[in-house]
């Protein structure tokens, strides 16, 4: 037996290829959408991986530091460091803001990293693609390549200028913003620094308060003002555990003894990957559903039209004794062929366009496989309309009136 579907496609290949191409672009968009979602998850994971932390210690009862604001005193890390099982602990600040570079600015996540031996403290970029780590306590920065900054560039964060001494790759926030690492002290200033007027006004208010400004207690006013203008907050403490330590146990003891909120890697992943991007994931899910419906409608319409054009031939085929299932299979095969052409075009389009997108688009092979299977299922369903019509064709129609 020859393949009727194959012959028909061969005969009308122009129509098939053009429709397949159009369908392919739609499938390409669908794959990119899935890739955007995977990119979000992957960015979240990269953020956690690159922090080098096993535990995150944050302000009590917050989902910090990535999903909610969190503020801790910067000396708590010492007591955490003293807990059994803790190998290293370091303060860290995160602040997503506009970083100026000359006339332009880029959105970046500014990470304040605690001084120490480079690489030994959690929070430091685990590897550089160029340059060196920060060695001075002030005004040096390591920037991610996605920020568009280059080695030796000068950038401005709030009022201070920094020299880019090192470059990283794929160091991004869960929102996909490139990271810029600066020394912790600078970052604390950037986060909590007040402008001169505000400092002056705050000083005036303190002076006007009789509780602080007591003629009988010299030095009190100065001490109060000094404590107001230095800031000693960080967003979180990143903790690396000694080998073979169970994160849950250490986390539990820090929670109990220090009355802080502690997240393990698994819990943090749940926050960053599940909670933080939940709305985006739903949004993308909605798009996928709509795109699937549009694909189904297109395939159904095209296969229906192609079948409509063949009503005469189908009546003749039935008259000369072709089985219904042979005819149904012919139509379904054409729908599957259309879906396959579309999928191949879509996959190629997605693969070539993914790197052009500003945020990370991660095309997972299993998404492609799932997409292909979904496409085949959609094509089968979509061909049912045409098959129904073809099966209703009366062989007597071939004989005519």
């Amino acid at each position: 037996m020859i393949s009727l579907a194959g012959r028909d496609i061969h005969h009308a290949w122009g129509k098939f290829v053009l429709t397949g191409f159009g369908l392919g672009l739609l499938i390409g968009v669908t794959l990119i959408m899935a890739g955007v979602y995977r990119g979000l998850v992957e960015d979240g994971r990269a953020l956690l991986d690159n922090s080098g932390a096993d535990l995150w210690v944050v302000q009590k009862d917050t989902l910090g530091p990535y999903a909610e604001p969190s503020s801790l005193n910067d000396d708590i890390y010492r007591t955490v460091l003293a807990m059994p099982g803790v190998d290293r602990a370091a303060n860290v600040t995160y602040l997503t803001m506009q970083v100026r570079k000359g006339e332009e600015d880029v959105r970046a996540m500014v990470v304040g990293i605690a001084p120490g031996l480079p690489g030994s403290a959690p929070g430091w970029p685990p590897y550089l693609i160029a340059g060196r780590q920060i060695t001075r306590g002030h005004y040096e920065a390591v920037a991610d390549i996605a920020s568009g900054l280059k080695l030796g560039d000068r950038l401005t964060i709030r009022r201070n200028h920094y020299a880019v001494v090192g470059m990283t790759r794929r160091m991004v926030s869960s929102g996909g913003d490139p990271m810029v690492f600066i020394p912790l002290k600078d970052a604390q200033d950037a986060q909590f620094l007040k402008d001169n007027d505000a400092i002056w006004q705050s000083r005036r208010r303190t002076e006007a308060n009789p509780a602080f400004n007591r003629p009988g207690v010299p030095g009190l006013l100065e001490a109060v003002i000094a404590s107001q203008s230095t800031n000693s907050s960080v967003n979180a403490i990143l903790v690396a555990l000694k080998p073979e330590q169970a994160p849950d146990e250490v986390a539990e003891s820090i929670r109990r003894w220090k009355r802080l909120t502690v997240y393990t890697r698994a819990q943090m992943e749940d926050i960053v990957v599940t909670k933080l991007i939940a709305t985006s994931a739903k949004q993308i899910g909605m798009f996928l559903v709509i795109l699937a419906i549009v694909c189904a409608a297109i395939v159904a319409f095209i296969i229906y039209t192609l079948t409509m054009d063949k009503i005469r031939e189908i009546a003749v085929l039935k008259l000369i004794g072709t089985r219904n299932r042979t005819i149904a299979w012919m139509i379904m095969q054409q729908a599957l062929a259309l879906g396959t052409i579309g999928f191949v075009v879509g996959k190629i389009a997605a693969t070539f366009s993914a790197p052009i997108f500003p945020k990370y688009v991660f095309l997972m092979p299993q998404d492609s496989i799932a997409g292909f299977l979904a496409m085949m299922a959609i094509c089968m369903l979509a061909s049912l309309v045409a098959i129904r019509m073809a099966l209703k064709v009366d062989p007597a129609e071939a004989i005519g009136g």
């Binding site: 012959r7 061969h10 005969h11 008259l319 000369i320 004794g321 007597a396 004989i399 005519g400």
Partner: protein, 235 residues
């Protein structure tokens, strides 16, 4: 036992109740193998209805139909697999050739034995044999759209004959052709009837070919009358 096709008292009623139409009111007909008979009648007389009953695509309301030695219909009873019957026992030739546009000439003809589970090779060699008999073998690789009207009609006849059915039903096979080509088709049908021992029934309005039949069934108001034809114009 006679071969060919025989119908007795065939009736067909469309619809029910007040709107019922009695298209056939008791038709008798007998066509022997090797014979080409004409079926003529005015518009609305029941020609197409009769052809559809003979072609096993609509069921008669009453009457008997025997094809070769096989009873097809007998007053409400019918054979189970009409589809296989059409494939194996009946050849169709239409007014328009209705070739499958996406198959080449050979496969248009070979499709019929393929549907009856012949191997591709066997089916194509049968097809080529028929195409040669109808003198279109030189167009075997062409697509239907590349053929002239007459060539298409000959391919359609080859398709009707390829399974060597005992009966061929031809519905206005000469309508789109000029008189020379029409006579050509009739000559071929007569040759094929003789060569393959086929009973051929030709429904026609075509004044040019009516004198060629030796026997004609006249149908009027759902009843047939047999007449002797002139039987001329074919050697």
């Amino acid at each position: 036992m006679s071969k060919g096709i025989r119908i007795e008292g065939l009736k067909k009623r469309y619809g029910t109740g007040d709107t019922a139409v009695d298209a056939l009111k008791g038709v008798d007909m007998q066509v022997e193998p090797g014979e080409v008979v004409g079926l003529i009648g005015p518009s609305g007389s029941g020609k197409s209805t009769l052809l559809k009953c003979l072609g096993a695509v609509i069921d008669p309301t009453a009457g008997r139909m025997v094809l070769g030695n096989e009873v097809i219909y007998d007053n409400g009873w019918k054979v189970r697999d009409l589809r296989a019957l059409r494939r194996d026992k009946i050849g169709f030739v239409f007014q328009a050739p209705y070739l499958i546009p996406f198959l080449d000439v050979t496969d248009n003809v070979a499709l019929i034995p393929m549907l009856a589970h012949a191997s591709n090779k066997e089916a194509r060699s049968k097809a080529l044999e028929l195409l040669a008999a109808l003198d279109v073998q030189h167009r075997a690789k062409a697509m239907p759209s590349q053929l002239s009207g007459g060539e298409q009609q000959r391919v359609a006849i080859a398709r009707g004959l390829v399974n060597r059915p005992p009966v061929i039903l031809a519905d206005e096979p000469t309508a789109p052709l000029d008189s020379e080509r029409a006579m050509g088709v009739i000559r071929i049908l007569n040759e094929m009837a003789r060569k393959f021992e086929t009973a051929i029934i030709v429904v026609t309005h075509d004044e040019k070919i009516i004198p060629t039949f030796k026997r004609i069934y006249h149908i009027r108001d759902g009843v047939t009358h047999e007449e002797a034809g002139e039987g001329k114009g074919i050697e």
